[in-house]
């Protein structure tokens, strides 16, 4: 089935070389920023998990966290879900708060980043936080949360893709460090591509601080991550690539031990879910590194829109890139 990202290609180029004729070293790491400063540990890849929960993961939660900690891939989680994990198994944690819920000191204090969700669960629609109703409310609220977090915790807002420019300006002028742009549904649409372009354009007006973009959108495969980064995203949520692995039926204790009458199930056939998840992350890393190499880029920061070409006029206009 055609995908909107199929209308974009990364242009091949030669890798820069060092003075000794060797290819320059590659870095796939990114850092989150707070008030314009890069803070915290660098992420191993420009990806994170946003909707994968302890409830959905079940017994594999501890192993998943340990894997994410080793790979330096953060996930959105409440602080309570990290209890009972040993120190080596705790990954970087993005905390959050939904509309009309209290802020919790331990959620903010221990977070590596903090997202204020612009989603009214009672009405099941997006909405500005109630704190925004007073003049300068959203900006003062974001800054107050930032101050309460000590100034080093990046603070962001989550918004749906396709918001009009006025709302995107409101979000940017609140001085957030990042915007999580999400799109529900089965397939990526032009709304997300246009939102990324619009956010990038608006942040260049005046003396606005740059805003990092976290994308939580439908993905078909790891090969799409590089294109989304080139289009302007900083981090891409990859829950949808691993969700099928976490949701598949797990072997019951009976089959795992071969006790099911009449059927012997050798223990060697029992697959670990986390092993498969790790393979997916390995594939993401390999694919991303290959794509950077192919378009002559050695770091995520250099993977910009100039490396992209559109194969159709509509795509070129939508993403404001050159036509191939």
């Amino acid at each position: 089935m055609p995908h909107i990202l199929d209308e974009f290609v990364l242009v091949p180029a030669r890798l820069p070389t060092t003075g000794q004729g060797k290819s320059a070293a590659q870095s796939l790491a990114v850092r989150v920023r707070a008030a314009g400063r890069e803070v915290g540990t660098p992420l191993g890849l420009p990806v994170l998990l946003r909707t994968t929960s302890k409830v959905a993961t079940g017994d594999d939660w501890g192993k998943l966290c340990k894997l994410l900690s080793r790979l330096r891939i953060p996930l959105f989680s409440g602080v309570a879900e990290m209890e009972n994990l040993d120190a080596a198994s705790v990954p970087a944690r993005f905390g959050g708060r939904v509309i009309d819920d209290p802020l919790l000191p331990e959620e903010l204090k221990t977070a590596d980043a903090f997202e204020i969700e612009c989603y009214d669960r009672a009405a099941d629609r997006w909405a500005w936080p109630r704190e925004a109703v007073v003049p300068q409310g959203l900006k003062n609220f974001v800054n107050s949360v930032r101050m309460a977090g000590g100034g080093d915790v990046p603070v962001g807002l989550s918004i749906p893709s396709g918001l009009p420019s006025e709302d995107l300006e409101t979000a940017i002028e609140s001085t957030v460090d990042f915007l999580t742009v999400s799109e529900a549904g089965e397939a990526l649409t032009p709304l997300t591509i246009r939102s990324i372009s619009e956010i990038r354009k608006l942040t260049q007006i005046g003396d606005r601080q740059p805003v990092q973009i976290v994308l939580d959108v439908p993905l078909d495969g790891p090969e799409q991550i590089a294109k989304l980064i080139a289009l302007g995203a900083d981090i891409v949520c990859v829950d949808r690539l691993i969700a099928p692995l976490l949701e598949r039926p797990k072997p019951s204790k009976a089959t795992a031990s071969g006790m099911l009458s009449g059927i012997a199930t050798p223990a060697s056939n029992q697959k670990s879910v986390i092993t498969d998840v790790e393979r997916v992350f390995d594939q993401i890393r390999e694919d991303f590194a290959n794509q950077l190499r192919r378009c002559g880029v050695t770091s995520v920061a250099d993977l910009k829109r100039g490396r992209l070409r559109a194969t159709t006029d509509a795509a070129a206009r939508m993403a404001q890139v050159e036509l191939l």
């Binding site: 802020l103 109630r130 704190e131 609220f141 309460a148 100034g151």
Partner: protein, 220 residues
Amino acid sequence: MSGDDANTVSLDAQGLSSSELNAAILETIADKVTVENTSEATYGFACGVRREIPIVAQGSIGDFAFLLGEAAAVDVEGDAGSWCGHSMASGSLVVHRSCADYFGAFATGGLIAVLGHAADRCGFRMSGADIFVRSTAGNEAGHGMCDGVMVIGNGAGKNLGYSMTGGTIYVRGDVESVAEGVRSFRMKDADTMRLSLLLARAGVKGGETREFKAYRPAKS
């Protein structure tokens, strides 16, 4: 910055952004901090403070004062803006004049007092703090409240206790209207005791508890 005595540090908010002022408060090592020249433009005053220290604003302040505050005793000698005491967990916030909307919203602990008038939705969704309003409270006081105690000294506006699921609101004086699902209960000894203790904490001497009515969710 100057020290009035060995233990008190005085800060001047003039010329400082709200972030700079808050950073100065957090970094100050003293037994007490006083801040002069605060104004309605000073938002986020003392937000995130988590130690036992008296902090005095010698003027009015803006929105989001003492957001996520713990342990400190914050005193505001003038008016306060909206959302003061937001998600406060412990300690105290006392506003000597009046405050704007959403006073004590989401508070989970501590004492939050205003010695004048509180605007609409005071105590919004609070779940454990004690709130004292010496004068009148606006509309929807105790909106979404699920625990804690609120005391209103001189009447309340419309829809008292809107969407309230727990806690108690003690009101002296007229209530314009009571939200559906909330009703007044006869004051019991436990109510009298709780009310007296809260009035004492708020510094109200000789408060006559018999003039108050207790409001709770009808099914409590």
